[in-house]
């Protein structure tokens, strides 16, 4: 299987997952700040 195809599909698979984790991590950070303010 051509290396270009393999690399392309690694990008296709990992990027949406990475974006989802990035959004979740940023949200958790904001929620922690909210919790700290409310204490």
């Amino acid at each position: 299987m051509p290396i270009y195809l393999v690399v392309a599909y690694i990008i296709f698979c990992l990027t949406p997952v990475g974006l989802a984790f990035s959004i979740a991590a940023r949200r958790r950070k904001v929620e922690r700040e909210i919790a700290a303010l409310q204490d």
């Binding site: 296709f12 990027t15 959004i23 979740a24 303010l37």
Partner: protein, 231 residues
């Protein structure tokens, strides 16, 4: 809240299942293309990510226009969230396009009309995201971003028509003569388009919730600052 969370989980689960099925169709269902061989399989997700990028920018255009008309923050949140996701998907399109171009054209990049417009489009939306972190007041930032998002959208139809108006080496899958694909290729492409649209919706909902949580934090900080001033 629990209902929203359940819907998010269902969407995320369905996205994963459809993504795996789409991958299976790309590698085991779609036939090997005669001219380019195995590397042509990049096509299915490459087109799907481009579609999501364009659709994301359209939602930014729409959200910006409605925000200017209504001044309602929720439309600004929609526009901003969609631009970020659109940019990530267009970046995937550009990078995987380069990976496909190397074996197909012998070079990663060439300054032909479609690719040049895509590069300009990418830079414009990077600038949009940078603008959102600017030091302007939130209202001014939102209004400026709305106008910018509407203007930047011109790159989407320009990119679509570039391969029809000008001489270009970029392939044209939909033309006046129909689609140059077999039935199995078309089904795989359509399923990939549906899958990435669902992934976009799933990510967009999460991104909107992040922005709403940030608004809550900003409001809380303001309350705290005011309370501190009164003390």
């Amino acid at each position: 809240m629990a209902k929203k969370s359940l819907l998010n989980s269902v969407l995320a689960g369905l996205s994963v299942v459809m993504f795996l099925v789409a991958l299976g169709m790309v590698f085991f269902y779609a036939p090997r293309e005669a001219t380019m061989g195995e590397v042509q399989r990049i096509f299915y997700f490459h087109v799907a990510t481009a579609w999501v990028g364009f659709f994301g920018f359209f939602i930014t255009f729409l959200g910006g226009a409605v925000y200017l008309a209504t001044n309602n923050r929720r439309w600004d949140i929609l526009a901003f969230s969609s631009a970020e996701i659109g940019l990530v998907f267009i970046t995937m399109t550009l990078v995987t396009g380069m990976l496909w171009a190397k074996p197909a054209w012998g070079t990663y990049w060439t300054w032909e009309p479609r690719l040049t417009i895509s590069a300009v489009q990418w830079l414009l939306y990077v600038a949009y995201i940078m603008l959102r972190g600017s030091v302007l007041s939130p209202e001014r930032e939102a209004r400026f971003a709305a106008v910018y998002g509407i203007a930047a959208f011109v790159t989407v139809p320009l990119s679509w028509f570039a391969i029809r108006w000008w001489r270009t080496i970029h392939p044209q899958i939909v033309s006046s003569e129909g689609m140059a694909l077999t039935a199995k290729m078309i089904y795989t492409l359509l399923f990939s388009l549906a899958t990435f649209t669902l992934v976009y919706v799933t990510l967009l909902r999460q991104r909107i919730q992040l922005e709403k949580t940030r608004d809550q934090l900003a409001a809380l900080r303001l309350q705290h600052d005011q309370a501190a001033q009164n003390d």
